[in-house]
Amino acid sequence: MNWINSFRKRRAVYEDLSEEIRDHLEEKTRELIESGVSPKEAAAQAKREFGNVALTEERGREIWRWSTLEDFLSDLRYGARGLRKNPGFTFVAVLTLALGIGANSAIFSLVNAVLLHSLPFSEPDRLVSLSEHNWYPQGGFAAMRTSLQTMDLAAYLDGQEFNLTGQGDAERLYGTQVSANFFSLLGVQPEQGRIFRRGEDEPGNDFKVILSHPLWQTKFGAASNVIGQRIMLGGVSREVVGVMPSGFHFGSSKTQVWMPFNLDPRAVDTYWGGSWVPVIGRLREGVSIARAQAEVEVFQHRLLRMFPWKQPETTWRAASVIPLQQQMIGDMRSKLLLLLGAIALVLLIACANVANLILARAATRQREMAVRATLGAGRWRICRQLLTESTLLGAAGAAIGLVFAYFGVSWLKSMLRADDIPRLAEASLDVRVLVFTAAIGILTGLLFGLAPALQLSKVDLTESLKTGSKNAVATSHRLRSGLAVIQIAMAVVLVTAAGLMVKSLWQLVHVDPGFRSESVLSARVSPNQAFCDNFERCQSFYNTLIDRVRALSGVRDAALVNALPLNGRVAFIASRFEGHPEQVGDQPEPILFDSVITPDYLSVMQIPLLEGRGFVESDTARDAEPVALITASTARKYWPGVDPIGKHVGPIWEKQWRRVVGVVADVHEDSLSSTLPSWITGAIYEPFSAHAVLINRRPALEMNVVVRGTNDPTSFAGTLRQVVAELNPEVPVTETETLGGVVSKSMSAPRSVMWLFTIFAGLAVVLGAVGVYGVISYSVAQRTSEIGVRMALGAGRRDILALIFGQGARIAILGVCVGLAGALALTKLMTTLLYGVAATDPATFVTVALLLTLIALGACYLPARRAMRMNPLVALRYE
């Protein structure tokens, strides 16, 4: 209770001080009277010689108190009272700030979840990825795992799909294959059961599975006796050993089951040549990333000699070991920071608006400030009072902004796809976001309060006590116009960014994907591996399916393909071309996108055949000569200037060539902005036959049925499922979608970024226009009597209009010019987000410039009309 005591003591000290000063004055007055001065004059002289009584008392008190805090509290009370008395001003200012701050907090919560949260694993700082550039064969991983001294290694492979059968309807599950030590390396615990044990990724021990929490809930009713149960996955019986908790998503947010690898050194082909895998590591105690990287670099060279065949020296790029978190974030970092930067601009515009409001209000407060100054408040003291007020506004804005942020985050989560942004689900208003919000609330308060505070505290006492000086109004007007210029400039930057995104998306939408998506439905049909071990059985299942679908009414044609364009699946082979040396020096062999199709695929998709012939039914027979189609760009690349028809191409692991029988137009397999993934060098088509073997040395067996209908293709969806169920109830049908939907989904990431930018730009334009409106209409009010004089002297309405618009135009043009310069410098940052449009696209820049000039002038319209309609007589009498 020490502070209460000191408070009481202080009060006594203050009283003593006041009394003493009173006594002093009395004594002095009395002495003066005794020396013959008149009582009235004596009192005045005593006061004069004493100096400012109130100020002296204040200074005396200041010495005793922890003055900053108490001043602050009293400023706070005073400020709150002022704001309550001005509800209109307070409402607009707080709402503007709340919008700006809320939007910032929402975007920051994304940044926080993706970039700032450390991974939810134990000692995440020691987790690294070896696979920024290089993946390794399973055998290579196994060798590294036992040999490296600097870290422990685990591997995983996403995108494995398995049929779950015997648990109600057949279901397709998304799985991740992992090395046995994967979970223990991450340091995560299961919710039920156990994680994999050492050795469970070896042949014979690998028939185990761990379930994700959601799968356990939906498919197994969250029953605890699921542990130890055997389930059928991909036609193979596996024992459920554990369930992971709901927050665990690795390697993909989609993973429903984790299964061990089957690391079998005797299966040489898959061990060294099958799917290569990304490798992660946990640094051992005290090991630096640089040391680990050096060891991997050395080991990569040793690894090349371990291959059962000669592996080119250029197989891997230089070893790189990076923090696992960095690997997971990938290129999101720059995108998110760009978004954060953009939304920060919006907040700055909002700040400028509020600063303008305060300046406008300041004109009416000059007298108040003058009175305070007379009473002995220094400039700094007044400044501090004003800054306290604006900080109060900022804090209120932050508090309400949090509510906006709450809705903003859930909206962002629903709009963005978890596939596009890693760890999106973790975004929430946690402590860090709260602190961030509070901090920007206070910072913005100081920011937008500073200019008005400096302006307003610079009071010329005698002048403002009399009338409120014209001089102060003039500088205030310059300041306000300057703020409006800045607002327009920042709005130009944001609108330009949004314009570029819109144009880029427009370009994407108008990319010819190489096929016609109208009226086409696609669905993934995936029999079990075991079912297709007998390829003839598999093939006849598909052929019957296609025949039945074709017979449906409304169906024009139907076909099969193993990897539908634009849906994220990649099917490929390592290949060789006739006429090319088996291996040119250390050139890695060509990797070709390998579409395995039934003959009608080209016509269903309407992919143009440029030369030669397409496939025919007889090409799919087991004893038929293996043939292939090649895309135009691949032909140009590998056989430039030569007719590719009759040439040969084939997988590197087979002596058997495929004869090229036709050339087809290129198709966007990967995305609308690039035809193929960067690591794939070309594309071929093979007929759906036992010959068409992919990189895993197996024929394609999971296929997409593509159906071209006469009208709305979604109407077949149900029937298609029925047809498959009749043929084989254990075969799930998934990903039933129109081709248009597939194309559209492939644009989801650029589309959502475009929407965000457009919303930001919209906010910026509205706030900017309000800013210009505020400045102009305030100036019209200030110039009322001037306008009256002009009108009285014969100025027409048109002259008045020109006067007001001229003022607006100066702000607009200056703002647009500054903004364009800023945009030119800043849009460079978004180059990677743009497709088919330069970051300095002249058309966009010109359009934005015109648009914003118009908007700014539009904002002058109302005040200009008000000025024009003024009655000169009334205007002259104004003030």
């Binding site: 000290v13 006594d23 002093h24 002095k28 100096g51 400012n52 002296t56 200074r59 005396g60 010495i63």
Partner: protein, 113 residues
């Protein structure tokens, strides 16, 4: 409002003079003020009010103490008294001030050859 700010000659000067005056005898504020004015032959422009914040500072630092008492004319007055700590402080301040003054004087005085 033009405020000619004659607060003190330099920071601490007024405090020094107060301490010096109180060393002679305890006094109350008004008397203290008159003594200093007289002693300086009115050479120093001291705003009377500025005395009180200075006294508060000295009180707070424990260099002087204050007590309500009764004056010769039977008025309630607050009498300030120099504390031992204040005496020591004064000594230090005066000697450092004299050194400074000597330095300044040497620089300002005409060059002797």
């Amino acid at each position: 409002m033009k405020t000619n700010k004659p607060r003190e000659l330099f920071p601490g000067a007024l405090e020094m003079m107060i301490l010096r005056t109180l060393r002679l005898q305890p006094q109350h504020g008004y008397a203290l003020c008159q003594t200093i004015k007289r002693a300086s032959d009115d050479l120093l422009q001291i705003e009377e009010g500025s005395l009180y914040p200075a006294l508060q500072r000295l009180l707070k630092d424990g260099l002087v103490s204050a007590q309500w008492g009764v004056s010769a004319t039977n008025r309630r007055i607050r009498i300030y008294k120099l504390m031992p700590k204040g005496a020591k402080h004064l000594e230090r301040e005066v000697s450092s001030f004299e050194r400074m003054l000597e330095g300044v004087t040497r620089v300002l005085s005409p060059v002797r050859s």
